[in-house]
């Protein structure tokens, strides 16, 4: 049971952690399971396509859900100033990642072979 004043902290930490973990999961491809829609088969962790296309989105969401829940539970246990530092660091990291990724894509697009 979470105390009433901890609910916004839990919800906020959950949202931020989920977003960060989700980006990592999509970039590094870390699904907890793989779904093959054409044959209706579910495999554990990442698997290559079998017959037809493959879907990792559901697996990414589950991986992120577990990670974000763990982070949110930790967030309500630690002192608030620590949490604020972690969230600020995470937000700066996310913006830096976005800028670096965009620059990298721009260079890749414009570079001559």
């Amino acid at each position: 049971m979470i105390a009433a004043d901890k609910i916004p902290i839990f919800a906020f930490a959950f949202g931020i952690a989920y977003a960060v973990i989700y980006v990592i999961c999509t970039e590094v491809n870390l699904p907890l399971f793989t779904y093959h829609p054409a044959i209706g088969q579910i495999d554990l962790l990442w698997q290559p396509p079998k017959r037809g296309p493959v879907m990792y989105w559901y697996g990414w969401m589950l991986t992120s859900l577990i990670g974000a829940l763990v982070f949110a539970w930790i967030a309500i246990a630690v002192p608030e100033p620590w949490l604020q530092r972690v969230i600020t660091f995470g937000c700066i990291g996310a913006v830096a990642y976005l800028i670096l990724y965009t620059v990298a894509l721009f260079i890749y697009d414009k570079a001559t072979v």
Partner: protein, 156 residues
């Protein structure tokens, strides 16, 4: 195919209801009426924002689940057709939709927390920001879904 088309229509109708609810709430929050409502626009802005919260959460979750279910069929039917037709921008924008829908879903706990009664004045700005972000996400997803369905809808 009739089953998936029916699901898609239900998904679209729920999305439309969600769009109406979140737009009402966001407008009432960001552009509240100061004087008694007279015109249609003023009455649109004068709705009690708090009463929409539960409906928006339920509509979002149900619409998301239906969309995620239909996505399995889209992946190996409509999308393959779109790729064969070289509609790569349409496919790409739908990839964006899956991420936007996920962001909206994970925003719901914070949205619910900031709208809990009695409304805390401390969270007034956070409430406004989260509601606006959710409205932008719902509008984006609605428009993307509409564009993709126009390109190569279920049953076409």
């Amino acid at each position: 195919m009739a089953f998936w088309t029916t699901l898609l229509i239900i998904h679209a109708l729920l999305a439309l209801a969600l769009l109406g609810a979140i737009t009402h709430q966001a407008v009432a929050l960001w552009w509240p009426v100061r004087a008694p409502a007279g015109s249609f626009i003023a009455r649109f802005r004068a709705v009690p924002s708090t009463s929409y919260v539960t409906a928006i959460i339920v509509l979002y979750v149900v619409t998301f689940i239906l969309g995620a279910w239909i996505y399995t069929q889209y992946r190996f039917t409509s999308r393959l057709a779109l790729e064969q037709l070289r509609f790569f921008k349409t496919v790409g924008v739908f990839e964006l939709k899956e991420h936007l829908a996920t962001i909206g879903l994970i925003l719901l706990p914070a949205y619910w927390a900031y709208w809990r009664r009695p409304l805390s004045q401390e969270y007034a700005n956070a409430r406004r920001s989260v509601t606006l972000l959710l409205a932008i996400l719902v509008w984006s997803n609605f428009l993307i879904g509409h564009v993709v369905n126009n390109a190569r809808g279920m049953g076409s």
